[in-house]
Amino acid sequence: MPQVGQGILKGMGVTLQHLFGQKITRQYPEYKRELPERSRGMLTVDMDRCIACLQCMRICPDHCISIESTKRDADGSGKPKPFAVGFVIDDSRCMYCSLCVEVCPVNCIYHTEEFEAQAYNRLELARQFGELPVDPTVDPKPTVKKKKKPTGKKAPSTVEQPVSEKDDAA
């Protein structure tokens, strides 16, 4: 049986203090907070530096990067080198994990401070960076290698063994 007593009045005192205290709301979009240096916003690619090594495409867990590469002599050195003619980043899939940024050998893909990705159509969220548009709805081939090191041990079997027909008849 609760008695109205000091506990409630103390709590009401705390709320009254906050009533006249300072408000912590920031009126977005009139006020935009300064993002820290490391904050991970939407991705962008510096196509001049891209060497089409396809590392980012391979490591992306959500398959949001699709690259179409050919061999082209882009810098006039005489030798055709891999060149990305099509590069698409699908913002509707990207989860901002920054694995592609870490794995890029020339640091050409990096996070910006943009985070407002809005579009009326989901396909508009796929940003094309290359010359030719790449279809974002086609999954790039999964390129995870399954090379095993030769050891003698067998992997523990967690797969259920199929029931043999003898048991069914019994």
Binding site: K10, G11, V14, P36, E37, C97, K146, A155, P156
Partner: protein, 395 residues
């Protein structure tokens, strides 16, 4: 009680729980009373996520409570079988999304168990610092959610103010406010920025200054809070241990089991802290345990900041993480209890099997055992005792 046909309709409903608090069926039969079947369904603003509770109510008393989970199942364990070891870490972030650092930490401990990697001491200190900050950022909103379900709308907003401040510290360190992807296999991703230790000190001192006013004075002495939470959800130690409950829900019954002290990992042996227990096994006790753990975390953060050594932050794991065949196990004390990861490797780039032992999943058994016998409005404080997170129980 329920007709057999109706019982079969409830998908996933289990058989009669062996609880001694059920209202006697003889009384009900004698008077020809019926129970109301109600589903506190998946669409509910106050559940901790997408949970369906199938309730059988006798007036306002709950006769039977069956949780039905699975509305947020995202096949994390299966997806992890197709990703390389470092790429599983963003996945683990999304399990118990209130305590992301602990999820990552548990997985990394499991893989480091497979690899035998030397982790530099500075990385260990940074890991513990981040985990304790995360514990603060998780316990304070837990208290807020408990009060929200009791009907007080203010403490949760004060709690989220604290969580926002901690998240802005995390953003400065890791780059993201919630899905950090910071703790890596072998260390952490990058060192703390140079101005962060000072910012953390300032934040901790300001939190200590108003923690008492905002979260203790407002709540603890409130007579209505006391009458709603005292002797509600009372558990004995045997019940809690039998159901596999861990974390503050276990420690509020009096069992002192804390992974940080009983199965020490990282640098917890070098830090000074105690296990917080309380003897009454009810909701008020769990509230007190959480408040005390917040204060413990504050002191642990201060110790980490003082003792942090210089050095590298990433161990040497080699170019590719391709462990030998075997099994690795890592367990951490997440804010909800014991979070453990079991990784089975078959020698290739991707794990053969990853299993997450999530505390929210195991603590949910409390609902079926403890709730029958209580009133309908008591279900919510008991959920506040268990404090599950739907990403955790559903994976």
């Amino acid at each position: 009680m329920l007709g057999e046909e109706r019982r079969a309709e409830h998908e996933g409903a289990l058989t009669e729980p062996p609880s001694s608090r059920l209202v006697s069926p003889d009384i009900r039969d004698e008077f020809g009373l019926e129970t109301i079947d109600m589903s506190m369904g998946p669409q509910h603003p106050a559940m901790h996520g997408l949970l369906r509770l199938i309730l059988a109510l006798d007036g306002e008393t709950v006769v039977r409570c069956d949780p039905v989970m699975g509305y947020l199942h995202r096949c994390h364990e299966k997806i992890a079988e197709n990703r390389m070891y470092p790429a599983v870490i963003p996945l683990t972030d999304r399990l118990d999304y209130f305590a992301n650092m602990h999820n990552e930490h548990g997985y990394c401990l499991a893989v480091e168990d497979l690899l035998d990697v030397e982790i530099p001491p500075r990385a260990e200190y940074i890991r513990v610092l981040m985990c304790e900050l995360m514990r603060l950022a998780s316990h304070i909103p837990s208290i807020g959610f408990l009060m929200l379900e009791l009907g007080a709308f203010t403490p949760i907003l004060y709690a989220f103010r604290e969580r926002e401040r901690i998240q802005s510290i995390f953003e400065a360190v890791t780059g993201a406010r919630m899905m950090f992807h910071y703790i890596r296999i072998g260390g952490v991703k990058a060192d703390l920025p140079p101005d962060i230790p000072q910012k953390i000190w300032e934040y901790i001192e300001s939190l200590e200054a108003h923690f008492q006013r905002d979260f203790v004075d407002l709540i603890q002495g409130n007579e209505i809070f006391i009458s709603r939470t005292r002797n509600v959800g009372k558990m004995t130690q045997e019940q809690a241990v039998e159901m596999g409950v861990t974390g503050p829900a276990l420690r509020c019954t009096g069992v002192d089991f804390d992974i940080r002290l009983d199965y020490p990992y990282s640098i917890y042996p070098e830090l000074q802290f105690e296990v917080v227990t309380d003897t009454a096994g009810d909701v008020e006790a769990s509230y007190r345990v959480r408040i005390a753990e917040c204060l413990q975390s504050i002191s642990l953060i201060k110790q980490c900041l003082e003792k942090m050594p210089e050095g590298e932050v990433m161990g040497d794991t080699g170019r590719r993480i391709r462990p030998d065949e075997g099994e690795g196990f890592g367990r951490v004390e997440s804010p909800r209890g014991e979070y453990a990861v079991h990784v089975v490797s078959d020698g290739s780039d991707t794990p053969y099997r990853v299993h997450y032992r999530d505390p929210s999943f195991c603590n949910m058994q409390l609902l079926q055992e403890i709730v029958p016998g209580h009133y309908l409005p008591d279900i919510m404080p008991i959920m506040g005792l268990v404090d599950p997170v739907s990403g955790g129980w559903d994976k």
